[in-house]
């Protein structure tokens, strides 16, 4: 069984600094990490591997530095890693990112399961996994919060949809985006981390893809353009209320009552 995991490198946090002219977030000096949702996707793959003995291949699209994400994945237990990196891919939006990712996986192997995070913490669109499913023409299960059963031939999962849970079973190939709550990711192990430094990372460039038309990738292949990124306005300061014992409890109860009453009215 073969599992692909999509992992993206994102800034560890944002100071809300933005280049006034370009509208692009200033990342200089900020550390980068693997998108936390994608570490959970990798953990899901590792759990499936424990049951099915699958081989796990990680794909990340980004600059050379994004290699760190693959090394981290190796130190958690991933078997192979591909860095998708080419000048032609720069400036990709969801359309171009998902197209590049689907071209990349297809160029490597026939994967049974593709695992994605629910969303990234920078782009934050939560659309890439659905778009990849569309490009590859395979079933897509979004917001998976539990693996009920997994075998060599099929997988049965629970999805957290708006206000309801849905149980879905599918044969392979398929693509899953997982909720953060599905598993607590393991810590990288020292032994694997030591060996990960020497482990090979393969690079995928435009030349390696089936479709080599650069107009379909990067800025040229993007249907949208971000005009401005800005931190949301701060909400107004609130008063601090200090009350003791019963007074405090009564006060909180009053807030609850008001909140629930107004909700009921809305319904």
């Amino acid at each position: 069984m073969k599992i692909a995991v999509f992992m993206k490198q994102v800034p560890a946090y944002s100071e809300g600094n933005m280049d006034e002219k370009t509208g692009v977030i200033i990342r200089a000096g900020l550390p980068s990490i693997a998108n936390v949702y994608d570490v959970v996707a990798l953990e899901t793959a590792l759990r499936i591997k424990e049951i099915t003995n699958a081989e796990i291949t990680v794909f990340t699209m980004g600059p050379d530095k994004a290699e760190d994400v693959i090394r981290e994945a190796y130190s958690m237990g991933a078997d192979k890693g591909y860095l998708i990196c080419d000048k032609a891919f720069a400036g990709s939006d969801v359309l171009a990112t998902s197209y590049t990712l689907s071209q990349a996986v297809s160029s490597v192997d026939n994967f049974d399961i593709i695992l994605c995070g629910k969303q990234t913490t920078d782009g934050d669109t939560a659309q890439v996994s659905g778009a990849v499913a569309e490009w590859l023409g395979i079933p897509h299960m979004n917001w998976v919060c539990e693996i009920i059963n997994v075998t060599e031939n099929e997988i049965n999962v629970k999805c957290q949809l708006d206000g309801r849970l849905s149980v879905i079973q599918t044969a392979y190939p398929c693509i899953l985006s997982v909720e953060k709550s599905i598993f607590t990711p393991r810590m990288p192990s020292l032994k694997l981390k030591m060996s990960s430094r020497k482990k090979e990372i393969s690079k995928i460039t435009l030349d390696d893809l089936n479709d080599k038309n650069e107009n379909n990738y990067g800025l040229k292949g993007s249907a949208t353009k971000v005009r401005k990124i800005f931190p949301p306005e701060r909400t107004a300061k609130r008063d601090i209320v200090i009350k003791n014992g019963k007074d405090g409890a009564d006060y909180i109860l009053e807030i609850f009552k008001n909140t629930f009453n107004s909700k009921e009215e809305n319904i």
Binding site: A28, G29, I33, S75, T184, M187, L190, K193, M194, I242
Partner: protein, 467 residues
């Protein structure tokens, strides 16, 4: 007598809303009549003048994270410096390092943010870090706080370029380098540190944080002793921290983990593990790997399975494992806070002693024997390579609390007789003064008395600390 200035509103009478300023992380609670939050040196001097005229003692407060009650007032006035938290100036030096001049009330969280904002990819830092990030620079200097990287980065003096202190006379003194030691670690008894120029150094290019787990304390102790006897080195890297955390601490942490934002996403620790060692290696990747490999082999010799050892790198991940280590004192303090709610006389009872000449194994056995002899529960964590552990007694009643004091005195006696140190990084304040009554040497006390005479004959600053 309460003196409250009406006109300029610098001084406020103590009321319910200021109650949190009567206690620090030692959970020792005091009393005061008034409080102020000066915003600059002029205001410090105005407040001092008013208090001096009425002979009202002033207790200086930073972040109130101290654990010996040294920022807790017994009476009089509280001068809280948390509003003095600005960066005044900074300089980028030719060698790629820099200096930053700050008001003393800036805490470590804000200091780090400011350093990142100003020096950006130069990647600089101020090494003295007592793990608790709400501690202020003034408080850190006043307590000579150290933290987990202390044995590498050594003396705090190395990282201070200039110190300004408001003396009891109302004069602002730029303290000469030779006299830094009359301020550093003196728990505010010689004046208010108002402004400091900090020397920043380059961050190591990489840090690895490795956690080894052990199924029994003896194995872990033997591992620590093996490393102490032959500390692994490489040309481009070094061990930057070596911390021990025992089972009781692990249980306390695991119990509270779901509510602790910084660590709640870490996986649960296997119940079979009795203790862990958290080790940081700082330097270049290759050197780090060399030391990590060496440690892995030694740990395996003492039955720590390298497959179960965690290894993280990168600032964000290291912050998580540091937060896990920090949760050891945090959860011990939370335990005490719960007990204090039941009985106001209960405070933190933690040791801060080190002893160079015995093995780690013998030291921990001594602590275990003491705890079982007195029938007490305690958690143990701290600095492995320096034989400097913090044993926190976890009393269930005031009776056990009193027994705990007796036990700590017994340990202290042994340490003093065997060339150990009974106060290392937390200070003496009001709590350790009580616990170690009659045990601190005359010479030690006299040194403080001489300083008091030189800088504050009227005992205006921090009355009740040490002396």
């Amino acid at each position: 007598m309460v003196y409250v200035s009406q006109k300029n509103e610098l001084i406020f009478p103590i009321s319910e809303k200021y109650e949190e300023y009567l206690i620090d992380e030692s959970k020792f609670m005091g009393n005061a009549e008034s409080i102020s939050f000066p915003k600059n040196e002029d205001e410090i001097i105005s407040i001092l003048k008013i208090m001096k005229e009425k002979n009202i003692p002033i207790t200086i407060q930073g972040g109130k994270t101290g654990i010996v009650g040294s920022a807790v007032p017994l009476e009089g006035h509280i001068m809280n410096l948390s509003y003095m938290n600005n960066v005044k100036e900074y300089e980028i030096l030719e060698d790629g390092t820099g200096t930053i001049t700050v008001e003393s009330g800036i805490n470590l969280i804000d200091l780090k943010k400011e350093i990142l904002r100003i020096f950006k990819e130069k990647a600089l830092f101020w090494p003295p870090e007592p793990t608790e990030t709400s501690a202020t620079v003034g408080g850190i200097i006043a307590t000579d706080a150290k933290g987990i990287n202390a044995f590498v980065y050594e003396n705090i003096q190395k990282y201070i370029k200039e110190l300004r202190v408001v003396r009891a006379s109302g004069i602002i003194e730029v303290v000469s380098k030779e006299d830094f030691n009359k301020v550093i670690g003196k728990e505010g008894i010689t004046g208010v540190i108002s402004q400091i120029t900090l020397k920043l150094i380059k961050k190591p290019s990489e840090i690895w944080g490795i956690s080894f787990f052990f199924e029994n304390e003896e194995d872990a102790s033997n591992f620590i002793d093996a490393v102490r006897n032959d500390v692994p080195k490489s040309e481009t890297a070094f061990i930057g921290a070596f911390e021990y955390i025992d089972k009781t601490s692990l249980n306390l942490i695991e119990g509270r983990k779901p509510t602790m934002a910084k660590i709640k996403e870490l996986p649960d620790i296997d119940e079979n593990f009795e203790c862990m060692c958290y080790i940081e290696i700082h330097g270049e990747d290759e050197g780090i790997e060399e030391i990590a490999g060496n440690l892995m082999e030694t740990a395996a010799m003492y039955n720590s399975d390298p497959d179960t050892a965690w290894a993280v790198s990168g600032e964000t991940e290291i912050e998580k494992t540091r937060a896990f280590r920090h949760a050891a004192p945090e959860t011990a303090n939370l335990f005490i806070e719960e007990k204090r709610r039941e009985d106001k006389r209960i405070t933190k009872l933690g040791t801060d002693m080190s002893i160079p000449n015995i093995s780690f194994l013998d030291m921990i056995k001594k602590y275990r024997d003491g705890l079982s002899k007195y029938g007490l529960n305690g958690c143990i964590f701290g600095h492995g390579l320096e034989n400097h552990l913090h044993v926190n007694i976890l009393p269930n009643s005031y009776d056990e609390y009193l027994k705990g004091i007796e036990l700590i005195r017994e340990w202290a006696k042994y340490y003093l007789e065997n060339n150990g140190q009974i106060v290392c990084e937390h200070g003496i304040g009001k709590l350790k003064k009580k616990i170690f009554e009659g045990m601190l040497s005359e010479e030690f006390i006299n040194n403080y008395k001489i300083l008091k005479k030189e800088f504050d004959v009227d005992m205006i600053w921090n009355r009740g600390n040490i002396l």
